[in-house]
Symmetry: C3
Subunit: 167 residues, 3 copies
Amino acid sequence: MREGVGEKVVPDRATIIFFSGDLDKALVGFNLATTAAAMGWETTLFFTFWGLNIIKKKRQVSKALGIKRKLFKLLNRGGAERLALSKFHLLGLGTGMIKKLMKETRMPSVEELLSICKGMGVKIIACTTTMALEGLTRDNLIEEVDEFAGAATYLSYAKDSKVNLFI
Amino acid sequence: MREGVGEKVVPDRATIIFFSGDLDKALVGFNLATTAAAMGWETTLFFTFWGLNIIKKKRQVSKALGIKRKLFKLLNRGGAERLALSKFHLLGLGTGMIKKLMKETRMPSVEELLSICKGMGVKIIACTTTMALEGLTRDNLIEEVDEFAGAATYLSYAKDSKVNLFI
Amino acid sequence: MREGVGEKVVPDRATIIFFSGDLDKALVGFNLATTAAAMGWETTLFFTFWGLNIIKKKRQVSKALGIKRKLFKLLNRGGAERLALSKFHLLGLGTGMIKKLMKETRMPSVEELLSICKGMGVKIIACTTTMALEGLTRDNLIEEVDEFAGAATYLSYAKDSKVNLFI
């Protein structure tokens, strides 16, 4: 919180652009988001490009949108359970390993972190430009999404934020 | 725009460091830059490391600078047409596919986005430290570059900006 | 520095989250950090996830923490000498090549940059959440670390900073 003479108390704000759909980056992003929310910050998460995978429903109904878009969707299947690490993925070891480590050290999963975020009032925005590129509708995304918007909306949130990160 | 009592109206500012030379990140970066410029923000793009590939001329005259630097140049050929996706590249599918999708959904190409940026007054800075590392001269970069500068210049722009992103 | 009427002069501040353990990103991060420090900025570096590798001691004593954590450590060996490029690594060419180029163009190494940072008063924070995930103790990290802390501490530094980057 910051206080000025004769001013209303305005909460601190943070925005995080989730560009990446990698598990490791998502974990760090959610950790920052829940910590900021716990400190009373107004926190906004903007999911774009691969990051949109994090907020896709697990099973999507594929619409008839041409073979290329279908192929893209196949490669780019969503659902927070499917996120992989940005490293070590070729070995096929890293992702399973880190999920087990997370369980052992009692770190919440991505699904749990999303749900914790919502419970703490963190705002979740889905990028409409990416949705158009992939041919996705609102029904393809999880119900936790608060807002469907583009870069102009993101900038209007980021403008008054103390911390803006692109992950 | 922000207005204070007895102050001049100062436009909002944004800076984006283009570290990555990946097509997907470049698209998101240019989308944010053109949106900010359209909202009247003074927008500055700082191209460093792999990001310098985005603003290289398509065919460069290779100078005699030793075999290692030549090899690095070969691996690191520039030109916005050559940018690849950060994911799916091994399959050789992703990049062509997304370019076709961009055409189908009438999203402008990276070359077009660079040109749109210039037309909107977005400032384009090339990182001189990266240029020295790669042995590049000003002639190797596209004519749209406004300024050749290093980290100190970047920080002087970022200092008064509301949104600073590293992509 | 910024000066206000009747206010104390407060130095500008910057924070950089070192999420990545890649050589190229580390170089750019340290270049920004040393430049900011040279300009009189209070600069804070927060090493998390793969970035923690940059500030690990070269030889770690492996504690008996179960096979998965040991395997993760093996894949994720620390020490600034081991950092690889985010690109071209499969060829096995890139990292050695860029290190030679750095030497030829007299660019300092990551070890030297860390030491320069310390000498300039840059604050180095190690992420305790990552340390817990990997089962690391303070003894596993280099002596240059100033503080062991989590996301709340990072946000308290970032809150009053003019430039906050995630690399």
